[in-house]
Amino acid sequence: MTDAIVARGLVKKYKDVTALDGVDLVVPTGSVLGLLGPNGAGKTTTVRILTTLLRPDAGSAEVAGVDVLARPSAVRRKIGLSGQYAAVDEYLTGYENLEMVGRLYHLGRKRAQARARELLASFRLEDAADRPARTYSGGMRRRLDLAGALVADPPVLFLDEPTTGLDPRGRTDMWDVIQTLAKGGTTVMLTTQYLEEADLLADEIVVIDHGRVIAQGTSDELKRQVGGERLELVVQDATRLARAREVLEPLGVGTPTVDEGRRAFVMPVSGGPEVLSEALRRLEAEQIGLDDVGLRRPTLDDVFLALTGRATQEDENDQLETSGARR
């Protein structure tokens, strides 16, 4: 099997920021790559370079076997892009948006029109087809934008944070679409801030931070590094935390973290429910009262903690951006 996307040593600097500091990537044809990283990691910059929108300061890349720097227009014929912010024309209707894109892919008028109708139907936008996109919800815009990327049935698809800012329904819809495309043999590179999403959709995950690849592998491989699920609990009395740690530590598969202020205890575990009930039994025996307890799946933060020994720095920004997008 050949590789649909190959990037070697991509570097991109802005005045005082190094957005990419030597990124290498390989995506085999027909597979899905999840590019995972916090805000500012360099995900968008990578996508923009691979889709010919931005020239790197150093490095090279090939998409669908074509050199991105040497033959950008040949690359554009083989790719579809749905950027981080939906690039739909608000004044055009959904139909007009897609027809325009089809004409600009040089499908010809008839074919462009038929394709527009077809895509509107498969993205559940038929009812809104003849309304200006200004009236669309965030999820509908996102779907229209993705439909635009699919007009010419491109063999390689780039999706930059396709679910950021969507409500849960919109998110699962988008997941379905991406899974269908992947099954149909399209090579997909998607970026995300959520491990859960990369886990569900991607064959292979590349984790980047500060413009560098810090880990890569299948989701299972990564999770093994991170340690799968977490047991998380909040005790009623902070003075009992040390004792709780003593009795629980043998149940874990990694070092627990203890937060005195929040009276919280977090520990990587494997074995899920059995570990949970054993933990509860032990705490009961010690008569340590709980305010909260549960198992949770690892988040990007846990991956980061495990890989770099520090939490993602951009947490506050993340939250600001998400709430901004929901407005």
């Binding site: 014929r77 950027g83 894109v101 600009l104």
Partner: protein, 271 residues
């Protein structure tokens, strides 16, 4: 990329912009509202105090004299829409979408400037009707009048390309709007648009004589037959050959700014 592809892609882009003119008619209303106010102000408030070159202050003669100046100012402001429109497309990511498609790169700006011509034609129709209402008339042949309109449109088209470059350079439509107002407003006033040049003090008068806004106005005035009888021959080479001098500016603007704007489109990035 063949010339045919460029044209057909430009046509697709232009069509998209024209749909916007149709869906957001406020845009057209606002580009014509202020010149209509200008017509009324100058025709009925200041007009009585401004004497046209040929004679004394005659409000009727002045209204005929005024319209070519209004046309020139209006189409020039119409041309600035190119810049604001492109800056908005950059900001909204539409330009990124275009740049990721296998279309002819030059089609984006070509389509934009062409649709702004359509906008300016509509604007000229509205302003001509306004002119007719206040007593302006064309006194020449059909072909001369057509020549006058054509020159106005061509002049605005060449300025559109200057603004295409600015629109790709400056990342916000508001900045483009404010900047163009600051530059264009004095340019259209230090000219013969509203008052005869004879009334301007020395150095300003020289600037005005070489200002292409003056010559395009002068050309339109001549071609519409709106020069009051008995007007002395204008001073300065540009105003004596207004069609030629204006055409030179049109060519210079196009030769310089078509490539410069397109290069900026290819190399600039939105964020």
């Amino acid at each position: 990329m063949s010339a045919l592809t460029v044209l057909s892609d430009a046509n697709v882009v232009a069509k998209r912009n024209i749909i916007k003119i149709k869906r957001v008619p406020d845009l057209l209303v606002f580009t014509t509202l202020s010149p209509i106010m200008f017509v009324l102000l100058f025709a009925y408030v200041f007009g009585g105090a401004i004497s046209v070159p040929g004679g004394d202050a005659d409000p009727e003669l002045y209204r005929e004299y005024l319209m070519a100046g209004i046309f020139a100012q209006t189409v020039i402001f119409g041309a600035t829409i190119t810049g604001a429109g492109l800056a908005e497309d950059v900001k909204k990511g539409i330009i990124d979408r275009f740049r990721s498609l296998p279309m002819a790169p030059s089609a984006v700006l070509t389509g934009r400037t062409l649709s702004d011509v359509v906008n300016n034609v509509l604007v000229l129709i509205v302003m001509s009707l306004t002119g007719l209402l206040v007593g302006w008339r064309i006194h020449t042949s059909f072909w001369e009048a057509a020549g006058g309109y054509l020159l106005l449109i061509l002049f605005a088209y060449s300025i559109s390309w200057v603004f295409a470059w600015i629109g790709m350079l400056v990342p916000s439509p508001e900045v483009v709007n404010n900047a163009s107002f600051i530059v264009i407003f004095p340019l259209t006033f230090i000219a013969n648009t509203f008052v005869p040049l004879e009334s301007l003090p020395g150095p300003l008068r020289t600037i005005a004589e070489w200002n292409p806004v003056s010559t395009v106005t002068q050309a339109a005035r001549e071609l519409f037959g709106n020069i009051p009888p008995g007007t002395p021959k204008p001073t300065g080479w540009p105003l004596q050959h207004p069609e030629l001098y204006t055409s030179i500016w049109v060519l210079v603007f196009l030769v310089v700014f078509v490539p410069v704007a397109n290069a900026q489109y290819r190399h600039s990035t939105s964020r």
